[in-house]
């Protein structure tokens, strides 16, 4: 893409680079590209590109979904958050992992049995409405771009960490270009193998440093026990004097607030309003619940995850895959909080930095502590962690790119613009669309440097929770749903969640001391308003608690009002969604090898 201007900053930056970190990162990128090229050769049909020929086995698919799911926010963000705010941050890994249970229980099997290529396919097929496909496509792109921005930020900051002095945008552009190439060459089949491998890379890159660090500095429980309410209690709990905890800077939250529930994260709004701790507690409980709903329902509504279920051979395989995904990501999510805890005890100076220069880089930085005692091993460990971070944002971005590209090439081009196109034409379109969307993503990624990774991810989840989750859940299980009901609920819920997220973002950016603060200065009075109405602030920052019920309620009310529009063959549609394949009712919604135009 923009190769010539790259060489200069690269040459300058290369001076201060740790060779081990560089080697591990380069190997990750090289393996990704090589595997992409290799599997690109076997991607031939349109089915290969969109749903990997529907032939991905349970083990591969589970690894691939897990690899795709564990993003920059999971790999770097969670450890940083646990370090920064303590107990309340644990809800993130738990809900990221457990949201899959909802997918497994209610959505995975039926969705696969319907036999579509994309979620918009499902939306159109379930309601016989081309209009609804258009609405669904918009949401795929919308949620996709929202979720792409934090991945790009992760890429930019990690590269800036590895090459001190490298401009932020270079990292974004390089990673964007590599992944776009991969996706354009191999489509879904190409990235399945890469993502599966990247899962194992990530679990290796997070667990090995944890085990080594724990062996040197003491285990999970021991390091937590140092964070006790009173010094007397602390003295009783700590037997390990070999590695005493370092002093916390003034900016770090106190032990009591850090380790107990309803800490700094959930009491921020109440503190701004100067409420007493007693008054603040119910608000914290509300915040916690809303966060849980957003994360659990949002997981079950992310289009780039959902599209993967279509790559399973059948509904039974889809269910088995989901179970393995839960185990794989559950194992992963135990580790980042351990790093957060160790970071609080042994790298407290990071509390003084902000964002990418602060607790967010604890996963990359903490292994270097080993350097003092074990020399080069510390660099190797840090290199492994960097390789994991690379794998994290590369795999998630490639998944997002495939789902967004699929929406454009299959739904917009193949279904709306040129319904009589041949599979070859649509495959060509897939490649063009991949390059286009890759370029837009890089552009967007360059704009979001001041925003926090986890915060942006949370917003993408909140929007998905209020739009796609209600749509899928209700469409699969309630035969009385009509297109109008589904559209009304999904649009209202999604747009309100988006507005709430935008308002919170704007008021946060207004506090920024850099150029962004000037742009968003008109929103500064909003912070004044929040200070007087902490409840409204919480409902705006975490909107899921009201948007999800609102969306489902609207779907029911509007569907009842338009009951005459229920599709005529609803009984058959429900059978296709729920009947086991062995009954022979299955009828792939999209059939590749039919005579004529492909499908």
């Amino acid at each position: 893409m923009t190769l010539p201007p790259l060489t200069l900053p690269l040459a300058q930056a290369a001076a201060g680079v740790d060779p081990w970190i560089l080697v591990f990162s380069l190997v990750t990128v090289a393996v990704t590209v090589w595997m992409g090229f290799r599997s690109a050769k076997s991607s031939k049909t349109a089915g290969d590109f969109f749903v990997a020929g529907r032939s991905v086995s349970v083990g591969w698919n589970a690894s691939a979904i897990s690899g795709e799911y564990l993003s920059a926010a999971s790999f770097m963000g969670i450890a940083g958050m646990v370090m920064a705010i303590g107990y309340d941050a644990l809800w993130y890994p738990v809900c990221y992992a457990c949201g899959y249970l909802f997918l497994l229980l209610f959505i995975a099997g039926p969705l696969r049995r319907f036999g579509a290529y994309t979620i918009p396919d499902f939306a159109e097929g379930r309601y016989d409405s081309p209009l609804f496909r258009k609405i669904a496509v918009c949401f795929v792109l919308f949620i996709g771009f929202f979720y792409t921005m934090p991945q790009m930020k992760g890429a930019g900051t990690t590269l800036a960490y590895i090459f001190p002095g490298l401009p932020y945008w270079v990292g974004v552009a390089v990673v964007g270009a590599v992944i776009t190439l991969n996706v354009a060459l191999g489509g879904m089949k190409g990235i399945t193998l890469v993502q599966a491998m990247q899962y194992w890379m990530k679990i290796f890159a997070i667990s090995v440093p944890v085990f080594v660090l724990a062996a040197v500095f003491g285990g999970y429980g021991k390091n937590l026990s140092v964070n006790a309410a009173t010094p007397a209690e602390r003295a009783a709990l700590v037997q390990n004097v070999e590695h005493p905890r370092l002093d916390l800077p003034a900016k770090a939250p106190a032990d009591e607030a850090w380790i107990s529930p309803f800490g700094p994260l959930t009491t921020k709004a109440a503190k701004a309003a100067k409420l007493s701790p007693e008054e603040a507690r119910p608000l914290s409980l509300l915040y916690t619940y809303s966060l849980i709903i957003a994360l659990v329902c949002g997981t079950a509504g992310l289009p780039h995850i959902l599209v993967r279920f279509y790559t399973n051979p059948d509904g039974v395989a889809a269910k088995r895959t989901t179970m393995w995904v839960m185990i794989l990501i559950g194992v992963f999510y135990v580790f980042p909080p351990v790093i957060g805890v160790l970071g609080r005890n042994f790298m407290p100076e990071l509390y003084n930095g902000i964002g990418a220069k602060g607790t967010d880089k604890i996963v990359l930085e903490l292994p270097t502590l080993i350097r003092a005692n074990y020399g080069v091993l510390g660099s190797v460990l840090s290199g492994i962690a960097c390789a994991g971070a690379f794998a994290a944002f590369m795999s998630t971005f490639s998944g997002l790119l495939v789902s967004m590209t699929g929406a454009l090439a299959h739904d917009v081009y193949g279904r709306m613009l040129k319904p009589d196109s041949t599979p070859e034409q649509r495959m060509k379109m897939f490649k063009f669309a991949a390059i286009g969307i890759g370029a837009v993503s890089v552009g967007l990624g360059c704009c979001v440097e001041p925003l926090e990774i986890n915060f942006m991810v949370g917003q993408a989840f909140a929007i998905a929770a209020a739009s796609y989750f209600p749509l899928l859940f209700m469409s699969v299980w309630w035969r009385g749903m009509t297109m109008k009901g589904a559209a009304a609920g999904m649009l209202t819920g999604g747009i309100l969640a988006l507005l709430a997220a935008a308002l919170t973002n704007a008021s946060n950016l207004a506090l920024d001391k850099g150029p962004m603060g000037k742009i968003f200065a008109p929103f500064a009075p909003l912070n004044e308003f929040w200070a007087h109405h902490p409840l409204l602030r919480i409902l705006c920052e975490q909107p899921a608690i009201w948007t999800v019920p609102l969306a489902i309620g609207l779907m029911i009310v509007v569907s009842k009002a338009t009951a005459k529009d229920v599709p005529k063959d609803i009984r058959m549609k429900m059978l296709v969604l729920h009947a086991p394949e062995a009954l022979g009712l299955k009828n792939e919604y999209i059939q590749e090898h039919q005579s004529g135009a492909g499908h």
């Binding site: 249970l101 497994l104 429980g221 937590l224 309803f262 269910k319």
Partner: protein, 79 residues
């Protein structure tokens, strides 16, 4: 389909009780949840470690029952 829905709902309830109950217990009985177990506070141990195996157990149970239900559905339909 109805039996599948009953099964799904049952599993979801077991999950939701734990997920939504934990903040409530944290809220109502902070002293108990702050008790130390091997260095962890009870609240931390449950959320940070024990929650994952619990969810695995639910999903394992669900898969087994759900696939058995499908098999019996097929059998009934073939008769």
């Amino acid at each position: 389909m109805r039996r599948q829905l009953v099964l799904s709902t049952g599993c979801a309830l077991a999950f939701l009780i734990a997920l939504l109950g934990l903040p409530l217990v944290n809220y109502l009985a902070p002293a108990i949840m702050a008790k130390r177990v091997g260095g962890f506070t009870l609240a931390w141990l449950i959320l940070g470690v024990l929650f994952f195996p619990y969810v695995w157990a639910i999903s394992f149970h669900f898969i087994r029952r759900s696939l058995a239900l499908e098999a019996s559905e097929v059998k009934e339909a073939r008769r």
